[in-house]
Amino acid sequence: MIRRRLVLLGAAVIAAACVEDLTTPGVCPDYCPSNQITIADTVLTNSISRDSAFRGYVLANQAGALLATFDSGVVEGRPIFRVNGLGSRARISGSDTTTGPILGADSSRLHLFITRYDTTARNLTLRFFRLPITIDSTTTFASVAGPFTDSLVKRVNVDSLLALPGRKNSVTGDSVVSVDTVNHQIVLSLKFDSAAARYVPNDSGTVAFGIRLSADAPTSLQIANGLIQGAALQWYIRVDSLSVPVARTPISLVAPFQSFVVDPAPPPIDSTLAVGGVPSARSILRVTLPRFLRDSSLIIRGTLVLVPAVPASGAPSDSFVVEAHTVVADLGAKSPIAVDATRTDTTIIHIGATDTVRIEVTNLLQFWAADSLQPTSLVLRAKYEATSLAEVRFYPSKAAAFRPTLAVTFVRRYPFGAR
């Protein structure tokens, strides 16, 4: 009897257990709410004003990569770097601190991390030139044109090296340490003999090199910059130990100065909105959002429409990503940009293109609409500044026929509660 009651009670509880599934396909308008979501499109032609461009945000030596380009004299980028030496003396033994004068180097080995290269390029060749050790961030293409002409110390055909068994050239001592075919990256280990890499004790062993790129067709590549993945030189030196030369292998030295020089230099900033180039240029645009967009609408798509004033310039086969950022505060050229991914929109620009550029700026507009205290200024910049010669220039707001505009798609407030 009790068991039967329990079974009955359990069945009732199970049958009446909390469940919820209310979604049905709507057959409108008969069985849908009388109000619908209303969507609208508009083009804001006069909402962008007080726009201007500035250059010099990231210099070549501050870039994340060194750019080497080969374009048959049209545009050329040449990486340069300096490796500080060990000094005039080195420790004779690892077990004590006694040092002896460095007599010279038998050879050295340069580790080079190519972070991007054109896989379609043929006869991709790197030529190394010895440069004055005085190179620094003020060094220009012209100032090292001489050494780049008469101080060739080594030539490496990357294609040939990649094709060798084991990717190692037993004659020259060059080898490929690793190849990443997905990301198009190569790590090279290149042997410099005593003639190519002279250890000059009077210069404390400091050496500087420049790289020229050549191929069968115009191309470009990037070499890693920085203390971790940048160019590093391993010396194999001879140290005088009581008039007996002994071979020593000290620690590998990372190039503390790495940069690249470009010819021709980028044209000066004019009234157009320049983005990219080396040193990098940015453009700032002030946007006035209409009150109806800020207060009573939800933006679902916003597109910044920009008309190039000249074809996008840069190394052939290059493309580059232009980012639109909001600013934390509008301080003109020094406006700190918000690098938050949710407040950044991007587009890809191809070299030579003159098509109208459209950047989806939905994130930015939504951010501004949500917080009316934010400055409604946006900054255009290259995603990887100063790592590419690519530069694009857009018509500014003063060019009435081609001025930047905003295409906005928005949803009006749904009339909740209305019958």
């Binding site: 009897m1 009790i2 009651r5 329990l6 009670l9 009732a12 509880v13 049958a15 009446a16 257990a17 909390c18 469940v19 919820e20 599934d21 209310l22 979604t23 049905t24 396909p25 709507g26 057959v27 409108c28 308008p29 008969d30 069985y31 849908c32 709410p33 009388s34 619908q36 979501i37 969507i39 499109d41 939800l298 933006i299 679902i300 798509r301 989806e360 939905t362 939504q366 295409a407 798609t409 949803v411 407030r413 749904y414 009339p415 909740f416 509660g417 209305a418 019958r419």
Partner: protein, 376 residues
């Protein structure tokens, strides 16, 4: 104590706990049975009936002191009594050739009443006035920026308007009892409007709002014992307007219906009761797309004491729908009940099969009803 005695004690304790839990639930969590017919209108009207009354198709509602339809039967409530019910619905919606299976669980009624004097009884409780829970998904397209963009809209509402009734009843003579009630309409819905584009370049937009509702109504009823075993009941009700507010701003003000109804209850023997009822409500006052409604019910309860059998049918019209004719509904219900603890607690079970028909839409619903009544 025997095992049976322990079970009875356990049942009473659980019943009391269930009643307490249902009592402390906020009113906007109380729902009646949803319907797609209410999506375009104000909502789906509640039924004001306890499980016992609903198991007879609603025929006994005008005579049931634990239902919230009329007040006069409260005059005969012997002791303090509390009741609550749960309804679990399994609904097939056939619309436009597509059938959707929906489910929901609701707690549509709570009522507590008792005698406060020789001739006066009071009751307080609430039931669903309008259920406003639905979720509609629709595919459509629009030309945006010169291209056809396909999207999915999802509009949903979750909540209800509750009818909080304070009622008083008095037996004037041996044959006549009267009652009156004041109805505070209160509730809220959480509404969302979402549009998702197939082209993700257009961001998904979701708007959410909390809509609150308020209103006021009055009702009165009379219960007449015509002869031994024959009773008549009549009631009338008038509600003013339903005010919808979003963020403290009135978004809609809707006239609410007036209504009247009555019933007859025949008890040829103590173990057989047969009843019938009808009701009319002027829902057309609420605006376009709504209709005045008639409804009727007939049912019986056979067997007295601890485990009677109840059954009944009802039919009528629904207040909201497309076209020029009101949608219709027909239901058959059956149930039983069981008392415990020397009549101090009872549990009622019911099962209802309902069919609603309107232009292009048919709903078929199975509803399991569970009611708990406690007389501490």
């Amino acid at each position: 104590m025997t095992a049976a005695g322990r079970f009875v004690g356990w049942t009473v304790r659980r019943a009391a706990l269930a009643a307490l839990l249902v009592t402390v639930y906020p009113p906007h969590r109380l729902y009646a049975q949803d319907s797609q017919f209410g999506v375009r209108g104000l909502g789906t009207p509640g039924r004001y009936e306890s499980v016992r009354a609903r198991s007879t198709g609603g025929a006994f509602a005008p005579f049931d002191p634990l239902s919230l339809l009329t007040e006069a039967p409260l005059a005969d409530i012997p002791v303090l009594t509390a009741t609550a019910m749960e309804a679990a619905s399994y609904r097939d919606v056939d619309v436009g050739g597509t059938t959707s299976t929906l489910r929901n669980t609701r707690f549509p009624l709570l009522n507590v009443g008792g005698r406060v004097g020789p001739r006066l009884a009071l009751a307080a409780g609430f039931t669903t006035y309008l259920d406003k829970s639905w979720d509609v998904s629709e595919r459509d397209s629009a030309v945006l920026r010169g291209a056809l963009q396909r999207y999915t809209d999802e509009l949903s509402s979750d909540g209800s308007v509750a009818d909080l009734r304070l009622a008083a009843a008095s037996r004037l003579t041996r044959r006549i009892a009267i009652g009156a009630g004041i109805h505070l309409l209160s509730g809220s819905t959480r509404q969302t409007a979402t549009r998702r584009f197939d082209d993700t370049t257009f961001h998904t937009v979701q708007q959410v709002a909390e809509v609150t509702y308020s209103g006021l109504g009055f009702s009165g009823s009379i219960l007449i014992g015509v002869a031994r075993g024959l009773s008549l009941s009549g009631w009338a009700r008038s509600d003013n307007r339903l005010r919808a507010k979003v963020a403290d701003t009135t978004s809609a003000l809707t006239d609410l219906p007036r209504g009247f109804g009555g019933g007859v209850l025949i008890a040829p023997s103590p173990s057989v009761k047969i009843g019938g009822s009808f009701a009319w409500r002027s829902w057309s006052r609420t605006g376009p797309g709504s209709f005045d409604t008639w409804s009727w019910a007939g049912g019986a309860e056979i067997g007295s004491g601890r485990m009677p059998v109840r059954f009944g049918v009802r039919g009528g019209q629904l207040p909201f729908g497309p076209g020029t004719q009101a949608p219709t509904e027909f239901a058959a219900a059956a149930g039983t009940g069981r008392t415990f603890a020397q009549g101090r607690a009872s549990m009622d079970l019911g099962l209802e099969r309902l069919e609603r028909r309107g232009t292009g839409l048919t709903e078929r619903v199975w509803t399991v009803l569970l009611g708990i009544t406690v007389r501490p």
